[in-house]
Symmetry: C2
Subunit: 604 residues, 2 copies
């Protein structure tokens, strides 16, 4: 069950699709060229393969346990976390000012994939710290930054996101936790938060909770929510830890997967109020939380890619090892490793194509993020911002949904052994299922895609992407090889299906007058998740089409022949087997909207 | 987490699609008309809802345990099994001669669905007994029948199927267990069998193992395999139990799901040889085993439908109860139950349409089974036999694959709660994953479909089904309503895609000369599972199209209005959202064959 980071594929994407050398032109990233990427990724692979990967199955067998308010993590996690922090991995993408390494997301994202492939349950702790750091960087006062940021960036302390309450899941308007202003400018926070990842643990000295709550007298709904920092231990002016704050872990959940990651119920204020400090301004909490969430959503998409990669590696190893039956083509006249059977190849190719396609999509999105934040030209920033924001629900929604299919195929390749826990394939299947749920379910991502990312600009960003895809189609035709032409055909059909759907979505929303009965909205939202899946499918397939063009060039130059051939075959497989679903999805979205909502409630 | 048997839908299928009144024309089934079906199903529902359903979650929490060779099942299982046996449920479809009730499969299949919805882990024990009964009925000597059948049919004893060995999973040619003939006509059996469902337990007095092994000197491969009865306790002439036989449970597996069902490793002959009795003739074991397997494969398909139904019911209950966010159409000006959100409806409709479609397909297949075994006219028997045999891999393969999607959606509808084990939705997701694996993986079903069921008759059975579907299309057009026409359009496109694929498959196999290098076979088998999925999708959609025609007639007559309206909507949903995938699947199978097997082994 060892893990080997797919460095070659990652570096291919970083170099040829994300264009790291262009990223390195951006002020501040001068040191972050391809050489740096290679060096960082190699070091990162060493740590994850050697330290975290062996603890993954251990975490499933010996999950975090809760006793009397104290959470003890899986044996080995505490020591591994220490190494993680000391290696400087938490600070990879964070500013130099606070002790980080200031590397671009283009590099950091690949490191995130490795971390999650090696040990998804472990990786959730750093993932949440990243969110807390982003929120403080964006909206924290200088004082908060001074007290908390360096400790979070170094990994000495960890962070959490406290959104959910029993009655408030996807619907944050229903948050009831409250905060009472105190004369010294601090607040007393009261309430119950559930599903808090690493809300309590023993891996770090302190935990910095970022908590949504309502200040006394705030408006109802999402416009009355503020964001607070509530540390587990109070922090003195000198940075020394003081008394325990009034936030306590009442229990942790018994989950289907990611069992090593403690999912806490936190009780705030049972003993007079937890001391909290406001982040930014009152009633703007949701806005800040969205900053954290956008970062976390991308990271969860990466988790999908990561677990798919690990499931793929495991399935390949098994398929090369397990001997059963003769190949149908008569190529071997005896029982052979099952990888010789066409259906096993089909399953492995499906896993591979999904994973490489989504990795390519995420890599390109990461480069757009870097340009959108740091490029000197405002127009370039704006353009990249629009592209990145469109990509976030795709990276999150599509990569996690595909991870369900990939981890399921991973079990399937193992046959009966896959269902036995000790084999390890089942863990990936169980772990993956949280990914389409947390940080916003796939439906929530799809709402974001439909509303903020498509309707708001009348579909312009989406159509801009379609126009870019059309250029890739032209390049494929120009290239002229059989593989390129096969991919161009599927890409064109998928892109046309996509444009039809974008018009359906943007048109459907435009028709609906604000505030009135909006029946036409049902039709649009009935197709929202399929639209997201179609868009993700298309963009991932597009990036593999771009990969094919690069690979053909490299191949012609005699470079890295085996890798480039494999890349071409994978791109063709993706086009024939996955992109080919797109026209059917268009029909389902556009013609099928009515039947989604036609059934009377009582008939369910 | 209570379960309510979908009697109305089952009886609709039994009456209108499977045509129970025609089944009741068959000699021996005179008593088995619609009235009997209704009475039996109602009684069956009572038992399963009341006794077995409450034990389902219990079995997940407290799985069977092994200690010193003894397996203790979940608390309550033993008592429930006693009630099951006393109620006569084991004998439902078995001959009156041996104490059974002799009911047709058309009725028995629906009872099997309920049993598995209520408690899949429990239901596996009767499912395996059914297989043992079938094998003995088909090939057992009169003596074996006299000793074993009545006790199995009454449920006093249970049965098992012993195929798998560590090196022999899908590939039974590699079976190594051996049997030494004894002077008294019995055999001594030696070997290790793994993955033996209910191979050891405490619910019945005796266990009757049906074991594949090689008689000393038998040919290699599948042509040297014989089938034996090996009882756990020896049975005297008077039927009284004697000494313990030399078969012992060495351990049970730690599985992802169906945890209450003990999956045993059985050791035969460690103390001198287990006494076994041959079933039928030497070296014909695989043939007999296939009889058991065909029955078991249909039953596993039913498990897929059963668990999908249960997951659907649970998701609907949650969606009607859980309040989050306002409906997008403005129909409710406050937070509403999530069933009001279009994407939740889309998920529930997908679950519903899959389940109803597969149930309809299985019901029609059951009626064909009854006619194929009992119809007085040989031509009718033959025709029904061909249809039923074509249906078995579809019922098994398609219904179980769809159950993965449905149980996954079931978790998704629950959001974060779905990932918490106590909610119960996760259990269905974990339980379902075995269904695409045991009794032959989906790929094994697809091999059967391609080889024995399609190529052998040059695609004639498949094309015969397509011709029947064309008639349904014509009837839909004739009916002329908007719903019927919408379904006709999708059905036609799917049927045409299916015929293309059948020709591709039958043609590809015909081209391959026997015994030579058969490269063209790779292309056919690369598309075997997609072909199965396309065929299953089409047949399930076809049966819902037939349902729509019935429902429109009933509706016009003012009968059962709400149910008939729901049936029509479900059929349209299936057509628009699931049948619409068919043309893309054809493209993937026919154009995409090459990219499945193109990658060099080292490149994986």
């Amino acid at each position: 069950m060892s893990y080997k980071a797919p460095l070659k594929d990652m570096l291919f994407d970083i170099k040829h699709l994300a264009d790291i050398d262009a990223v390195a032109q951006i002020p501040g990233f001068e040191e972050a060229g391809f050489g740096t990427a290679q060096a960082v990724l190699e070091e990162c692979a060493k740590f994850n393969e050697g330290v975290l990967s062996p603890l993954n199955w251990e975490g499933d067998k010996n999950p975090s346990i809760w006793k009397d308010g104290v959470v003890t993590t899986t044996p080995g996690f505490k020591e591994a976390y220490k190494q993680y922090a000391e290696g400087g991995w938490q600070g990879l993408q964070h500013p130099l000012d606070f002790g980080g390494q200031g590397l671009p997301k283009t590099i950091g994202a690949a490191c995130g994939e490795m971390l999650n492939s090696a040990n998804m349950s472990f990786a959730l702790c750093p993932l949440l710290s990243d969110g807390a750091i982003e929120a403080l960087l964006t909206a924290g006062s200088d004082e908060l930054k001074a007290v908390y940021l360096e400790k979070l960036v170094s990994g000495q302390w960890t962070g959490t996101m406290n959104l959910t309450e029993p009655q408030a899941g996807s619907d944050l308007a229903m948050v009831r936790s409250r905060a009472e202003p105190q004369p010294d400018g601090s607040y007393k926070v009261f309430g119950t938060k559930i599903f808090i990842t690493y809300g309590e643990h023993d891996m770090a000295e302190n935990i910095v909770h970022l908590v949504l709550a309502r200040v006394t007298g705030a408006p109802e709904g999402v416009k009355g929510i503020s964001l607070f920092v509530v540390p587990k231990f109070m922090v003195g002016k000198d940075g020394a830890l003081g008394a325990r704050n009034d936030v306590h872990c009442v229990s942790i959940e018994h989950k289907m997967g990611i069992k090593a990651s403690p999912t806490a119920v936190l009780q705030y204020g049972d003993k007079g109020g937890a001391v909290g400090y406001i982040v930014g301004q009152e009633n703007r909490g949701l806005e800040y939380m969205f900053i954290m969430m956008n970062s976390a959503r991308y990271a969860v998409g990466m988790q999908g890619i990561a677990i798919a990669e690990r499931a793929y590696q495991k399935a390949v190893t098994f398929a090369k090892d397990r001997v059963q039956s003769r190949p149908v083509d008569g190529s071997i006249n005896a029982s052979a490793p099952i990888i010789h059977h066409p259906d096993v190849k089909r399953m492995l190719m499906t896993m591979r194509a999904y994973t490489e396609g989504c990795r390519a999509m995420a890599s390109v999105a990461a480069a757009a993020y870097d340009a959108s934040h740091h490029h000197p030209d405002a127009d370039v920033r704006k353009q990249n911002q629009a592209f990145y924001e469109y990509m976030v629900p795709l990276v999150k929604g599509y990569s996690t949904e595909m991870s369900l299919e990939v981890t399921s195929l991973g079990v399937q390749v193992h046959g009966g052994m896959g269902f036995i826990e000790e084999t390890g394939a089942a863990q990936y299947y169980r772990d993956a299922k949280i990914l389409t749920i947390y940080e916003g379910t796939t439906a929530i991502q799809a709402n974001d895609l439909v509303g903020r990312k498509t309707a708001r600009d009348g579909g312009q960003t989406a159509k801009g992407i379609a126009a870019q895809i059309e250029k890739t189609e032209a390049a494929l035709i120009m290239q002229g090889g059989a593989a390129a032409k096969a991919v161009a055909k599927r890409l064109k059909a998928a892109r046309e299906a996509f444009v039809d759907v974008v018009e359906f979505v943007a048109g459907g929303l435009a028709k609906a007058p604000e505030g009135s009965a909006k029946a036409s909205l049902n039709a649009v939202f009935a197709g929202s998740v399929p639209y997201l899946m179609l868009a993700g499918n298309l963009v991932a397939g597009w990036q593999l089409a771009r990969s094919l063009l690069v690979a053909e060039e490299e191949l012609a130059a005699g470079k890295d022949v085996d890798f480039m051939k494999a890349k071409i075959i994978t791109a063709v497989f993706y086009a024939d087997h996955l992109l080919s679903k797109a026209p059917g999805m268009r029909d389902s979205i556009i013609d099928g909207a009515e039947s989604v909502t036609a059934l009377a409630l009582d008939a369910f």
